[in-house]
């Protein structure tokens, strides 16, 4: 079974909200990803989203695009990402890992073959940004059969009539994208997010994560009051990009500790 359900259940029992960071595998270097994952856990995250680099990241803003380009320059492909997760699992069997990326690398490997390899490596969930539920017949089922949670996005433009359909295909949690735009876009409107999340909960029993536009402890706290999980991507990737040589792990740790304080402040 995936580690995602039990992780959310345990947090709920403690009246806590989840903090989910995103980093791109292979950025800034091949050897940096596993140390960064461990640092994220030490800084208090509950689940890790690991980006699979792709040549055409259509749904990403400049920060994550550049991370993808750096990872590809380091020749990191899907197989390498799975190897990184397996390496991480040698000393961490508790923190759920979700792979986030685009359809084509997975399609190229073959969905069933990928699902088996991902499960064996210790992956818990998969979010393929450009495979909506409509196209996931035969994909979501393959993932579920392998014990992987298919994670799906919901957005401000998702009509209410569609939420139940998405929830039906989904496993683990659903990811509400807080604004119209690519990753790394500006600010989010918490009142609007609050209304939407309430609507989503009405149709979907899975935990709801919210991401896009969360940049600091204050915005993390605001979102933690609404959602079950707070997802932070571009802000962390930006920290990796701008850190001086050799400082990325420390910088990320400090940033994530601060975000953690924000998330926890919401449950007090």
């Amino acid at each position: 079974m995936s580690r995602i359900g039990p992780t959310f259940a345990a947090l709920k029992a403690q009246n806590k909200k989840a903090l989910i960071p995103f980093i791109t595998a292979g950025d800034p270097g091949r050897g940096m990803t596993v140390p960064l994952m461990h640092a994220l856990v030490e800084a208090g995250v509950d689940l890790i989203e690991l980006g699979v680099p792709f040549s055409d990241p259509m749904a990403d803003g400049p920060v994550i695009q550049r991370a993808s380009e750096r990872a590809l320059a380091n020749k990191v492909g899907l197989k390498d990402v799975l190897a990184m997760v397996a390496e991480f699992r040698k000393s961490n069997d508790a923190t759920p890992v979700v792979l986030m990326g685009y359809a084509n690398p997975v399609e190229r490997m073959g969905y069933a073959q990928f699902a088996a390899a991902a499960k064996a490596a210790g992956v818990d969930g998969v979010l393929t940004v450009d495979i909506p539920p409509e196209e996931s017949t035969g994909v979501a089922d393959v993932f579920k059969a392998a014990g992987l949670d298919p994670i799906f996005l919901l957005s401000p433009t998702t009509p209410e009539s569609r939420v139940a359909q998405v929830a039906q295909a989904a496993g683990g949690f659903v990811y509400y994208v807080s604004l119209k735009g690519v990753t790394g876009s500006a600010s989010l409107d918490t009142d609007e997010v609050s209304r939407k999340v309430a609507m989503v909960r009405h149709h979907c029993g899975l935990p709801v994560g919210v991401g896009f536009g969360i940049r600091d402890a204050a915005s993390a706290e605001a979102v933690a009051r609404i959602a079950d999980a707070v997802v932070v991507g571009s802000r962390i990737v930006n920290e990796i990009e701008t850190a001086p040589e050799g400082e990325a792990v420390n910088r990320v740790k400090m940033l994530v500790q601060d975000l953690r304080r924000g998330v926890d402040a919401a449950s007090r």
């Binding site: 055409d56 380009e69 190229r108």
Partner: protein, 399 residues
């Protein structure tokens, strides 16, 4: 189901096509699908589309018997469908008029487009001016440099041209950036996609707007030549001019349909843009189709002398027609296209687009294998004014 009944209601051509986009765009594509469905069943909409094609574009475009070229190539008679004579100089305008009318119907005042050679960008800027819309065109930074006259044309027409510096800085990256703009401004903005690709309903609606090419040919060929052609040849970038001329001919089973991809430096060199000839199926830009990709599923860089064919994917209906065996797809290399470019200049007094020159080059190969009374119809998708700098440079001439 007949071949002409595709796509199905969810945009699939067999295993190809579909809607592979992030959730934020799903509602917009559904809205577009519904609105297009209404529009194409609305006689007033279709009448306005036809009026614009006639009075603004100058349709029908003629079919022309290229006698001297046919003699030179020594075999079948070659006829040219003169899309180069359309307003703005290519077939692209057929589609941009259709989409701009849809945008207006949907109350969208801001349109965006991607462009490679700049032809679709110019056609989009043109219709935006014609209908009073704001227009943003995304163009790879490399293409901005090699297609300077078209960049200036778009600016003259009031469009904003945004150079895209991510990835390989060409058409595919411009498409990524246009999609990102659309995700961000989805409520106010209509995305005028330039070829018969992208998520459903784009491949279908672009095809439908471009089918005017083939429908006219069906009528013109018997008038001019006394019968339908033995083969129809068109170049394939994303596939819009090709599907526009092929589709009406699909039920005419003894007409061969031949799509010509950009062979670049040759398939063996790896430097080409021929996914149907040398690629494999995958998912990019919202649909499943043949792609140029590496063993990790990363999209690989393409090469062609013609910017308009320099794209790693191809419209899903072409993948489907290839697998079904109804159409054949072949590569033509840069040097073969250039030779055909010069042939058409010298024998017929027509300067063709480098894209269209690929189709002419295939006619040059096919004609000698056919009899003198057989007929090849070539879709001359555009004129070559935009390419004279490129051709001059390749000939070692500075203008």
């Amino acid at each position: 189901m007949k071949l002409t009944d595709f796509p199905d209601s969810r945009g699939h051509f067999g295993p190809y096509g579909g809607i592979f986009v992030a959730e934020t765009l799903m509602a917009a594509l559904e809205e577009l699908r519904i609105e297009y469905d209404r529009a194409r069943n609305d006689p007033a909409f279709m009448a306005e589309f036809e009026y614009e094609l006639k009075h603004y574009v100058g349709r029908p475009s003629p079919v022309y018997h290229a006698c001297r070229l046919s003699d030179a190539y020594g075999g079948a008679q070659i006829y040219l469908k003169r899309e180069d004579l359309n307003h703005t100089g290519a077939h692209k305008i057929n589609n941009t008029i259709g989409q701009a009318l849809l945008a207006r119907r949907m109350g969208k005042k801001r349109v965006i487009a991607e462009t490679g050679a700049g032809q679709h960008g110019v056609a989009s800027a043109t219709v935006a001016a014609r209908y009073g819309m704001e227009c943003i065109v995304y163009m790879g930074a490399e293409d901005v440099a090699r297609q300077a006259p078209n960049v200036y044309r778009m600016k003259l027409l009031g469009a904003t041209v945004v150079p895209v510096s991510s990835g390989s800085k060409t058409l595919k990256d411009a498409l990524n950036e246009a999609m990102r703009d659309w995700v961000t401004n989805v409520e106010s903005t209509f995305y005028i996609l330039g070829t018969a690709a992208g998520p459903h309903p784009y491949p279908m609606l672009v095809r439908d707007f471009q089918c005017v090419i083939g429908r006219e040919c069906l009528q013109q060929m018997p008038e001019l030549a006394g019968r339908q052609p033995d083969a129809v040849i068109a170049c394939v970038g994303g596939g819009s001019n090709a599907i526009g001329i092929f589709h009406p001919y699909i039920p005419h089973e003894n007409v061969r349909l031949i799509g010509v991809e950009a062979g670049g430096d040759g398939i063996a060199s790896g430097r080409h843009a021929a996914p149907l000839s040398a690629g494999s199926p995958g998912v990019l830009h919202g649909f499943r189709s043949y792609l140029m990709q590496d063993e990790n599923g990363q999209i690989i860089e393409t090469h062609s002398v013609s910017a308009g064919l320099d794209y790693p994917g191809v419209g899903p209906e072409h993948s489907w027609l290839k697998d079904a065996g109804r159409a054949e797809y072949v590569p033509i290399n840069d040097d073969e296209a250039l030779a055909a470019f010069h042939d058409l200049c010298r024998y017929e007094g027509i300067i063709p687009a480098l894209e269209s020159s690929h189709a002419v080059a295939q006619a040059k190969k096919l004609a000698p294998t056919l009899k003198k009374d057989q007929i090849i119809l070539v879709n001359l998708s555009g004129r070559g004014d935009k390419d004279i700098n490129t051709v001059a440079k390749l000939s070692g001439i500075t203008l």
